[in-house]
Symmetry: C2
Subunit: 211 residues, 2 copies
DNA sequence: CATCGATCTGAACGGTGTCAACATAAATCT
DNA sequence: AGATTTATGTTGACACCGTTCAGATCGATG
């Protein structure tokens, strides 16, 4: 008997389980946080037995990678949007930084999964190499803002920018900075103020921070 | 009745178990990585039953916090050393940054535990407030290097520096940067080059990066 | 229609964090 | 000293976890 008409009811063979599992994982992630994200819980949430996922992912890790992949895609999209909306090329970089940190603040659990999967690896995820990836866009933004186009120098600048953004993403969560945030006009003002202290984000022609 | 206080005799059952547990944890951490660090494994390594730790730590988490605490202390000490050894106040900050990242590279598992414990919290660990703490020393180094002594501005600069160092600590592990590292004279050259791109680490009077 | 391969289930194994009940050694109190 | 309280450690159990494997079920292919 079908439970719901719109959603394809669950026959013995679920239509597209791997997709459903990833969605279930994201649902759990958002509702209960990373600590509650067990393979069994995901299977439960997807209405399937604990062993079912193993026909689509060889590992719990592989499922998490799929989840992380979605996260990187989403991040890339939001970075692209922020970059496109910049009123000048000069502060496109800062806009990207703000978008990055904002993403991590709005999807903290997802952001955690994205980086947790990286810490055991020695290589960055593939998603960092796509043209639409955040990494690539930072590179382009740096060049467009008049950065040194020398490959090595560009790579250094990109790494520096990325490090700063990621570091900020992990520190913004602390309450110790609440009053400072408030005095800077909220979270975004805080983020901008920090980025304004970081060399890579300061380009010729960009206004100095006001204080 | 105790035999000799100075002797390594075990006063009662196991001696100072809480200390022994932390040491056992660090041993496991270094030998097998963070993935192998279970409460039971720690108890096993310390030669004690799985439930024994609960008389000293209310949680696995509380044990890990104790381990992390040691890590923060060690980091603070090495930062202090690097700061003291700087040949001028101007690059003391950069020296601190290098010491920070180097620590994270030499104790990757410990570094992971230190930050993992923070990500569920909304407050920074207490160890960041001690006078000897890395955080405090960054603040001092910024002031001594001629940074803006205005409290809010100082806090911003400190956050920026810390974010950059932490971000770098988490990115340096990737092989993608190996060739770049090599062309910069090894890991430390790489770290310095990145830090040179981060504004907070560049102070008036400091040499521009060479390239 | 019969068969095959992909997909899902059920039960199981060893591992984990945690707890309650019990045991023992140390410290404290008469 | 001896008795008692407190701190510490052990045993055994519970629920949950990741993972595997033999078998059930189904969609597609011959």
């Amino acid at each position: 008997m079908r439970e719901t008409a719109s959603a394809a009811a669950k026959p013995y063979h679920h239509g597209d389980l791997s997709r459903a599992l990833v969605m279930a994982a994201r649902r759990i992630l958002e509702a209960e946080g990373p600590g509650a994200l067990s393979l069994r819980a995901v299977a439960r949430e997807a209405g399937v037995s604990p062993a079912a996922p193993y026909h689509h992912f060889k590992d719990k890790n592989e499922l998490l990678e799929a989840v992380a992949h979605e996260g990187w895609m989403q991040l890339g999209a939001e970075v692209a949007k922020a970059r496109a909306e910049a009123d000048s090329q000069h502060n496109a970089l800062t806009n990207i930084g703000v978008a990055y940190v904002t993403f991590s603040r709005q999807n903290p659990a997802l952001y955690r999964v994205m980086y947790d999967g990286m810490r055991d690896r020695t290589e960055m995820p593939l998603h960092a190499k796509d043209a639409e990836s955040g990494w690539n866009q930072v590179e382009c933004a740096i060049v467009e803002a008049g950065g040194d186009p020398d490959p090595a120098e560009l790579q250094l600048a990109t790494i520096a920018a990325w490090c700063a953004a990621h570091g900020l993403a992990e520190m913004t969560t602390f309450k110790e900075f609440d009053s400072l945030k408030e005095s800077l006009g909220g979270e975004e003002g805080f983020i901008r103020a920090i980025l304004d202290h970081i060399g890579v984000f300061i380009r010729p022609g960009r206004d100095k921070p006001v204080h």
